[in-house]
């Protein structure tokens, strides 16, 4: 479980996060949603320690991140997997080498053990016969799968995904969402996903934190988000004509 208390972060005097408190539960897909510019990416980068913050506290299963020594932070990072928005695969390495990278850096496994593990995780994300391709030769969906494979290869306790289905067609986006959900259930990890995609919310949002202008505006689940009367959330959720119709149907059904 990841706990966040009163997190504040500014850039050049402009406060981007204005005191966010929440928890991300183990074995669940926790979604951070909100409009572009609401502070989602800054929030996730603070959670990962990529950005320092002025005030607040982040703890990973009781371990307060800011109180850890450099070595302890490095150990903790070994338990974190991250899927970046643009996949962030290393251009100069093949797909198999990208997935093997965390094993090479952090384990003492021999080459055949590492190759077996890479084969296993690539199969797990439904990538077969892609080992020798370069990232530039892979499609957007394949790159996301490779990024997921690289994130889970070292059996992480925490998985972070920054807009994992951005730039993907709706069908591939759902496949990626479901893959993340399956992995979360299978390995019982704490997954935090940054998204502004309502399809993701409906598919995998077991816990949802809604951010607006650097503040937590709402917290709930995919079941409760459609029932909420919170105007800020309904503005976001029902912004499209399709969703407005869905809501209308929901209200009519309720009556």
């Amino acid at each position: 479980m990841i706990e966040v208390k009163d997190l504040h972060k500014s850039f050049g005097g402009v406060e981007v996060l204005k005191g966010i408190s929440t928890t991300f539960e183990k074995g669940k897909t926790n979604l951070i949603i909100g409009q572009s510019g609401s502070g989602k990416t800054v929030f996730i980068k603070c959670l990962l320690g990529l950005f320092s913050y002025e005030q607040g506290c982040i703890s990973y299963d009781g371990k307060i991140f800011s109180e850890l020594t450099e070595d302890q932070k490095r150990d903790l990072r070994g338990e974190i997997g991250m899927v970046f928005q643009g996949s962030a695969l290393f251009d100069s390495l093949t797909i198999a080498q990208n997935v093997m990278f965390p094993l090479k850096m952090f384990t003492k496994q021999n080459k055949s053990e590492m190759e077996d593990r890479v084969d296993f995780v690539l199969k797990r994300v439904n990538l077969i016969d892609a080992h020798h391709k370069m990232p530039s030769e892979a499609s957007g969906g394949m790159q996301k799968r490779v990024a997921i494979a690289r994130a889970i290869v070292n059996n992480p306790k925490y998985l972070f995904c920054d807009e994992p289905n951005s730039g993907l067609d709706p069908k591939t986006a759902i496949i990626i969402d479901n893959l993340i959900k399956e992995i979360t259930d299978e390995y019982d990890i704490t997954t935090v996903i940054n998204s502004h995609d309502m399809n993701s919310v409906m598919e995998i949002g077991e816990k949802i934190v809604f951010l607006k202008d650097g503040l937590k505006a709402w917290e709930g689940s995919k079941e409760t988000i459609f029932k909420t009367d919170n105007e800020v959330v309904t503005d976001f959720v029902y912004s499209s004509e399709l969703m407005k119709k869905v809501r209308q149907m929901y209200i009519e059904e309720k009556q």
């Binding site: 990529l50 450099e70 490095r74 070994g78 970046f84 928005q85 962030a88 251009d91 850096m105």
Partner: protein, 245 residues
């Protein structure tokens, strides 16, 4: 104020580069790759430029000697002095700032833009050690490049002066042996070592700390070339003043 901030950040980057070393098995591969990219990949252009500039130096020297009392071996002597003292270490380093420097800045800058550096940091890897240290180690072979440049520059001068009819091979060889001061070679390699460090670190600094997108990667490469050249020229002046005067 920004200059001071950047100078401070540059020295902090250098200190950080030596901390938390990457696993040797991985580092070895990175060093070999950088030797291939930065050293072996530069030999062709360095050889080409050195040979022809050496030839031009010899021709220019020969054409400017009109007094019959000046011995013909002066062509070889002047070419050797120009190549060993300045052309080899300094002129080639400016060319390398363009070739190797922009490669380093753009490759690291692209990694920054595409979040590959963030990916390294999330994994708990010291990204400066992973990215910059292998470049620093591979550029320890830079004196080897400069030795080749010196040899080919002097050879180019000989070919140009003999085949151009400005001097005989015997006169030219006598000239390159005339008043040879071994310290001049030491001076040249001290400069080379300092410039190698500059070539590895300033472009890395501009790539690593760049912000923005593809356009900014291009701008960072240009800025990196300008600053690497400026620092090389300034250090060349200071080292010459300290070591030769």
């Amino acid at each position: 104020m920004l200059y001071l901030h950047n100078i401070g950040a540059y020295f902090l980057m250098i200190a950080e580069m030596f901390r938390k070393p990457t696993k040797w098995g991985v580092m070895k591969q990175l060093i070999l790759k950088d030797i291939d990219d930065l050293i072996i990949g530069s030999l062709g252009i360095v050889a080409f430029i050195s040979f022809f500039v050496g030839g031009v130096v010899a021709i220019q020297t020969a054409l400017n000697i009109s007094n019959p009392l000046i011995p013909k071996n002066l062509v070889g002597f002047a070419t050797r002095q120009s190549i060993v003292l300045e052309f080899g270490p300094t002129f080639i380093s400016i060319i390398m700032a363009g070739k190797v420097g922009s490669f380093i800045t753009s490759s690291i800058g692209t990694m920054r833009v595409t979040e590959q550096i963030d990916a390294l940091e999330v994994m708990g890897i010291n990204s400066l050690n992973y990215l910059v240290f292998p470049k620093f180690i591979s550029l320890l072979l830079y004196p080897f490049v400069i030795s080749i440049a010196m040899f080919l520059g002097i050879l180019g001068g000989m070919v140009a002066s003999v085949y151009g009819g400005f001097s005989t091979a015997e006169d030219y060889i006598a000239g390159i042996q005339l008043d040879f001061n071994p310290f001049h070679v030491t001076y040249a390699f001290i400069k080379t070592a300092v410039f190698a460090f500059i070539l590895a670190t300033i472009p890395s600094f501009h790539g690593f700390y760049m912000k923005g997108g593809a356009l900014e990667v291009g701008k960072a490469s240009t800025t990196s070339f300008v600053w690497t050249s400026v620092v090389i020229i300034l250090l060349n002046y200071l080292l010459t003043q300290m070591l030769l005067s």
